[in-house]
Subunit: 384 residues, 2 copies
Amino acid sequence: MGVTTPVGFRAAGVTAGLKASGKRDVALVVNDGPKHAAAAVFTANRVAAAPVLWSRQAISDGRADAVLLNSGGANACTGPEGFTNAHTSAEQVATALGIAAGDVLVCSTGLIGVPLPMPQLGAGITTAVGALTVDGGPAAAEAIMTTDTVPKQAGHVSEDGWSIGGMAKGAGMLAPGLATMLVVLTTDADLPADALDTALRAATRVTFDRADSDGCMSTNDTVALLASGASGQVPDADVFTAALTGVCATLARALIADAEGAGHEIAVRTVNAATEDDAVEVSRAVARSTLFKTAIFGQDPNWGRVLAAVGTTRAAYLPDDLNVTINGVQVCRNCGIGEPREAVDLSGRQVDVEIDLGAGTATATVLTNDLTHDYVHENSAYSS
Amino acid sequence: MGVTTPVGFRAAGVTAGLKASGKRDVALVVNDGPKHAAAAVFTANRVAAAPVLWSRQAISDGRADAVLLNSGGANACTGPEGFTNAHTSAEQVATALGIAAGDVLVCSTGLIGVPLPMPQLGAGITTAVGALTVDGGPAAAEAIMTTDTVPKQAGHVSEDGWSIGGMAKGAGMLAPGLATMLVVLTTDADLPADALDTALRAATRVTFDRADSDGCMSTNDTVALLASGASGQVPDADVFTAALTGVCATLARALIADAEGAGHEIAVRTVNAATEDDAVEVSRAVARSTLFKTAIFGQDPNWGRVLAAVGTTRAAYLPDDLNVTINGVQVCRNCGIGEPREAVDLSGRQVDVEIDLGAGTATATVLTNDLTHDYVHENSAYSS
């Protein structure tokens, strides 16, 4: 399943020559309607890329007819010329499709501080428009990959006749604030823009916002949701939000599973917190501890490093009440020594860390990765 | 120069068998007076080790006669038994020296969650007391090393007849909040406890608090300052604070220079900030970006990653005003492309990154390291 699973959408993924590798690098997703309601969330980074500045304006009226995405260049920190280039590419899409440029969202990913090669991008847009099909989702998902090793798609088909599809890219610089990567979500449900916006913010808050591979927030992150209304169905808001959250959760897990150089996928779950914010703060502090992350890489259930990270937070707890369980073994009990650390098996790819604050009933999970030689290699050897 | 440079101090560093390597692992610093004023700052980590809990109480009256330090075990997350062990070791020092246990500070470093081997530590204390000499500073500095590759000592001799000495350990888990490692500072100046406390907080605020190797805050960090008054000199507060700050800065640089697995020492300087807090926040955000740190390891002057980190802060600035200079080359001008990145030479060990916020006149520098294969190796292969 993907962005062309819902009725009313066409997509394409083509090669424009932005990537030196010659792989697909321009994607286009078009909403053929009949409705064109949309919502989007963007990076909280104050150094926002030109396409984010453009798309924030474009989405402000709650309508989007198309999303243009390119890999091979972030168009970030490129000055007024960068914004002009983002605008120009939206105009090119609009002209080719006979729509308004203000209804075209633009997303870019790649190296910061390098101008987009506009002749190649323009030609790529023409090719992409010609290649649009109702089963173009997989090609589009391929075209937005950078250091991703696999395309990421997900979807949900309701028994009531509506569906949701999505694609995502992002394998480094994954951290929260708001959206944390490039994601396009589509639905043929018939929902107005404000309902889409509410559902999207609810879904991203507990999914992409809690995927934190390396603590670094991008300048370009965008999650867009387009609704064609082509199913004619108007789902209940809670049902739609739950389904959208499920699709986002699948994509977020796929991002963490494919994170640059990762050897383990780590779910840091904080339980019995006084508030959900506390649980997120504690889980995130552990997820961002480089010492904890290197220990997991070394298959060392070093719970002292978990506690050292928990101790840096402002969450409500009494230190003596802290318990830590790693892959089912309670290695730390009441802030002291629990079961033998030798009982913890970290040979598998999935790691579950549970921190019990003993301070309430709230729970939250942050997904992260270990810190490995491959992460250092990928991020030192290649500019991105 | 070291902790026995000032008059009135003896020190020792001996082997008690806490380290498997058989190297020195117990240090003792004794203030023979005539005065015994003291001050100390401790980790801001809420999961504080037993020796920190003990020493916080012991220093509260502004007097300390001795500092016992051990490597080979942090005595952190060791429960009520851990606190009893810290207390017991202070009693052992006090009995041997004929002083009060409440005037003995205790510091430990090593693996979290492992009880101290008290028989060996007790024997080590006896040996250390017997080995105390007025030139024992270097041996003490050796005995507190963990993954440090060199002992760290520094000092200042005033023309007015007073002096300051210091030693430090810490090669990982270096991050701020308050104190960030084990440091003992001595002086033969005649200053009361409140003057020492004021000077110590002023000095650590701009030195150890701005050394941030890997963003991880320890459970055990302690910086203690003991004054013997043996010089009979009462220095001016500002003069003393400046000298103390100089000694702390030297030790902080030595810690960063010897940080685990580091290939570069990086000074992240933020200039033209609206406030000093803003400058620290911006410098620290860059210093904690794993993507920035891996880029420096790869000798890649990736200024986009600097801006991406700056963009996550709340500091006052207009994004379009941001400039970034790396080793003297202004690679980013007005948030856009500046001089060619090829002009930046990162082959040396020292890297200077300057971020110009264009928002005021305040400045601050945070010292950090690159993120290297050796860091990952040291912290994944060895429990600490």
